[in-house]
Structure formats: C-alpha cells, structure tokens
Amino acid sequence: MTVKTDRGIVGRAPARKRRLSLSARKALAGLAFVSPFVVGFVAFYLRGLLLTLDFSLSDLSLRPNGGYDLAFVGLKHYIYAFREHATFKQILTSSVGDMALDVPLILFFSLFMAILLNQRFRGRTFARAVFFLPVLLNAPAIADALELSRAMMLGGTSPASAAVTQAAGDASVNMSYYVGMMGDLGLPRAALDYVVGAVGRINGIITSSGVQLVIFLAALQSISPALYEVAKIEGATAYESFWKITFPMVSPLIVTNMVYTLVDSFVSSDVINLSFDTIFGTTKQYGLGSAFSLVSMAALCGILMIASGLVSRRAFYQN
C-alpha cells in the first residue's frame, strides 16, 4: 500500500526528489504483490513441513489445557513404520503401484478423447460438457456414502468386493474365456492382466481424466492451423501430421498433466487415509502418522522426479 502512494506521488510530482531508483521501486511493488503468498507459504507450508518433521522424530503428548510436549526419540517411528507396522509397507507399495498403472492410462485416454473432441462434428459442445461432468461430481463424501450404502445392501461385505461382484454380474460375457484365448495365442500374461485390469477400472479412469482432457483440448486449440495446412500441401498424411505436429505441440502439456495426475491420484490414495487415521483416529499416534506422511511424500517426490525427468527430456519446447 505504501508503495502505491509513493509511486502515485512520484508520478504526479516529478519535481520531487527521488529516493529510490525505478527498478528498486518496481521490485518493491512486485514484492508487495506477492507478499500474501510469501506469508502464507512460510506460515502454513514451510512451518508445517518443519513441524511435521519435528513431530515425526518425537513422541508428542498433548497437555490438558492445550499445547503439547515433544520428547525427541530419533528415528524410532520410521523404524517402527518399516519394521513392525502391520500394513504400512503393503499400503505404500500398492498405492504407488496403482498410480504407476493408472497414470499412463489416464494420460493416454484424455489425450485420445481430446483429439476426438477437437474435431468438428455436431453436438461437440454437448459432448465436451458431458466429458467435464466427472470433475464436477467428484465429491469424495458422496462417493463414500454411496459405497457404504451399497455395502449395506449386500449384507455388510466390504465395498471393494461389492464392486467386484457387481461388475461381474453386469458383464454377461465370460471374460476369462477370451483372456484365456489371448493367452493361448502367446500374448504375455502380464500385458493381458494390465489390459483386463484397465477395462475393469475404465470407470475410474474416465472420471479422473476430466481436468486433463480440458487442458489437452486447450493445447490442441492453440496449435496454429497454418502448420497443418503446410503439412498438407507438402503431402503429409493425417497420421504423419499427428506425429510431426500434434504430438510435439502438446508434449509439454503431457508433463503438466502427468504431474497433475500423479498428485491428484496420490491425494486420494490409501496411504493418505492411513496417515490421517493414524493421527486423528482412535489411536492418536501423532509421531507415527507424521512419519507416514513424510515417507509417502518422499515416495511421491521420487516418482515425480523420475517421471518428469523421463518425459520432459522427450517433450518439445518452442523456446
């Protein structure tokens, strides 16, 4: 605010003696603009991260009148998490594994659908609106309530097995026959399992690719039509112009979308639920829960670095 009045006065009365150079005043104004973010980042994120690290290395006990005491215990909670905790390692690896399976599928699906929706056809606006619906309706609270009610109807079976039974009942085709047939043709078993699993999760994949789809659509819209025109005049087929124009032009957005998808699927994974329940559930193991969060965050960071390192080297940047 002071910066603003300062600049205002200087602007109106140039005869006044200047105290700061133009670039210094610009820098001050810039800092003033980003200051809310700086305060927020330091107060909530930086402080939070350091405190979580501190908690994970200590035994935390709450005082009855508020506040807490910390007793330093070193790496006890980390060792417990990896050596003794019944399910942590399992949940962590299965969350990471699910992510590794789903993210390529989501990326491929959203790019494919974006290319499809980018073409001119009747009802295009309507189709786009429908494809974005899952983003709107992706409320965990609603999903949980519906899952609970489904489980109740099936007489208290776990929601996961309920979904499986339902899916099996819906598909009146004998899937295992076809899978077996493909296997007999000599296709590798792992690849078959991946495809079958992907078909089983098609609902989840479609519903979690709404934002990515919109981003890819926007990227496709921003490609200059002149490029395609030139390619056509030079005699390129549609296939060639896809690999030589469309794909390189959207490749930077593949990195963006990959990061978004990884973070998004991680936030709703079981590891997060585990650490939330450990901290706020009945046991209230603050130190252990903090250790869980930090380990899972480290895992996510590792995956992000490896994945974006692999993909961004191949991405095409114009400048």
Binding site: K4, T5, R7, G8, A29, G30, L31, A32, F33, P36, F37, G40, F41, F44, Y45, L46, G48, L51, F55, Y68, L116, L117, F121, T125, R128, A129, V130, F132, L133, P134, V135, L137, N138, A139, A141, I142, A145, L146, S149, M153, I202, I206, V214, I215, L217, A218, A219, Q221, P252, L253, V259, F266, V267, I272, S275, F276, I279, S293, M297, C301
Partner: protein
C-alpha cells in the same frame, strides 16, 4: 475421358465411405464414454423417484410406475437443505472470490515484476502445487486449535481462540494464498498475465497510475477468462472438498457434503426404516439435491467456461 470420370466417382465413393466410417467410429466412442459417465447419474435420478413398490418390483427399470416425491421431502428435511444450502453457497462463494482476488494479485506480481528471490519464490509456488496438503495437516490442526500466530493473545494474558469447527481457518488460509489448490490458481494467473501485451500497463503508467491501481483497474478486468475459470474451479473443488472439511471439522451447518455422510443413518433412525434398499433411495435423493447447485451453475456457465479454460493461460 470416360475412364477418368469413373475413376473419380469411385475415388469419391471410397473417400465418402471412409469418412462415414470414421465418423461412425467417433460417435460410437463418444456415446459409449458418455454413457459410462452419465449412466450412474441417470440411475440415481430415476431411483430417487421410486416408491416402495417400485423398488421391490423387478419389472420396473428406470421409469417408476408410481412415482413419489416423498424421498425428496424427507431428504430436504433431514439435511436441513433450505438452511444449509445458502450458507454453504455463501461460504464457498466467498472463498472463491478471495481466491480469485489474492491469486490474481500474486500471479500478477510473479508475471510482471523483477524482485530479489523471485526464482526461489516461484520454486516455492511449485512446491506448494505439488505438495499434498496432508503432509502439513497436524501442524495446521494445532495452529488453528490455539490460533495465536504472533503471540498477541498470550502477551495480553488471554486464552487464544479455538478456530476449529468454524469457517475461519479456511478464510485465513485462502486470504494468504494457501487455501485449497491456491498454488494452481496462482500459476494459472501468472501464465495468463505473462501472455498479455506490456503496452497496456505502460499506457496506464504514463497516465500516472500506481502499480496497484494499474493492476486493479487495468489488468484485472483483462483477466476475466482466467478469473472465471478460477472462480468455477474454486467453487466446485471447495464444495466437494472433504479433506479440509474433515481436518478443521467444519460444521455440517455450512457443508452439504457433510450432511450426505449421515443422511442414510439419520433417515433409518428417525423413521425406523431398517431396510437398506429403502433408505438408499433417500440417499439418492440427497445426492441429487447436493449436486443440483453445481449442475445448474455448470449449465449456465458451461460454454463460457470451456472457452475460458482455453484462453486462461493453463496452456501458456
């Protein structure tokens, strides 16, 4: 001469057939995927009108024989819909406006000014986008349980206020650019302002406008597409948010999504309905009521929104 025309006609027929087959394939794909997206919604909407006899009649599929509005009446009452919805919309809308204002300001700062540590701070922004907020949940919980960031309350010998179960933690975090997905919004605005021509501001500056005035009166109106995108995303994600609502135990009186979790159990207790296949129908009605506000918003703004995303700077 004659042969050439025949070849032409044949070529045209082949290319016609090809494009026809392609568009058929496209339609099949789009209709199929749309079906996967929409069918649960249609199923729920239809079943929310089922009467008891419809629910137990295996011949009834989607279209009820004796439709009833009873599910909606009960759900409206149990959820306190008429009270909760306006409060919820006010909460979510207020947060969205703060998000758009603060994030556009910060984004403008990153896009147009050079200042020391700019690269470091931008790195912090990326960290914020990527960092799942569950890592800092315990410190946040404790911070707002005894909210005394500068030690003022302790200094005056007063007990610091407990902000949990109130909307304040969300407002405070959002106002400092650290709310739900604020990092992403800041990034969107930064990319958008980078794409605007510099001449606009230079003209304003020559006319004697200060930096803040330039931003407020010249740049912000130009950022309308981005602002619309951010507003909608913010409303939708905040409305559907479960993590912060759970962490800060935000009261069910301002959060419809919290009403949904307990709806089936409340109906079952209040009306002595023990059959889950009947109480589910009330849940369906409740879910429909919860998503209707978002659907209406989306239908009104749909076209402008998708265009807005395309011009908003997500893509850069």
């Amino acid at each position: 001469m004659h042969g050439a025309t025949a070849r032409n006609t044949r070529g045209r027929i082949i290319s016609d057939a090809k494009s026809w087959a392609l568009s058929l394939l496209r339609w099949a794909l789009i209709v199929g995927v749309s079906y996967v997206i929409v069918s649960p919604l249609i199923g729920m909407a239809a079943r929310s009108f089922f009467s008891n006899s419809d629910q137990f009649n295996p011949m009834v599929y989607l279209i009820p024989q004796t439709p009833t509005l009873e599910r909606y009446q009960v759900a409206l009452k149990v959820m306190g819909y008429a009270d909760v919805l306006p409060r919820n919309l006010l909460f979510v809308g207020g947060l969205a406006v703060i998000q758009a204002f603060v994030c556009s300001m910060v984004g403008y700062g990153f896009a147009r000014f050079n200042f020391p540590l700019k690269r470091v701070l931008f790195g912090c922004l990326i960290v914020m986008i990527v960092l799942p907020s569950h890592v800092i949940m315990l410190p946040l919980y404790m911070l707002f349980q005894r909210f005394d960031p500068l030690g003022l309350f302790a200094l005056m010998g007063m007990e610091p206020p407990n902000m949990l179960a109130s909307p304040w933690p969300m407002y405070i975090m959002t106002a400092f650019g650290a709310g739900l997905r604020s990092g992403l919004y800041i990034y969107i605005f930064t990319q958008f302002f980078r794409g605007l021509p510099k001449e606009i501001e230079e003209a304003a500056e020559i006319d004697g406008a200060g930096a803040f005035y330039t931003y407020l009166r010249v740049m912000l109106p130009n950022a309308a597409p981005s602002a619309l995108t951010v507003l909608i995303f913010s409303v939708v994600w905040q409305f559907n948010d479960k993590f912060y609502a759970q962490l800060f135990s935000i009261s069910p009186r301002i959060a419809l999504s919290k009403q949904i979790s307990g709806l089936q159990a409340s109906v079952s207790n209040l009306y002595q309905l023990r059959d889950p296949s009947l109480t589910t129908l009330y849940l369906y009605a409740g879910v429909m009521l919860t998503i209707v506000p978002l659907l209406v918003l989306y239908i009104i703004l749909q076209r402008r929104f998708i265009e807005g995303v395309e011009r908003s700077g997500i893509v850069g």
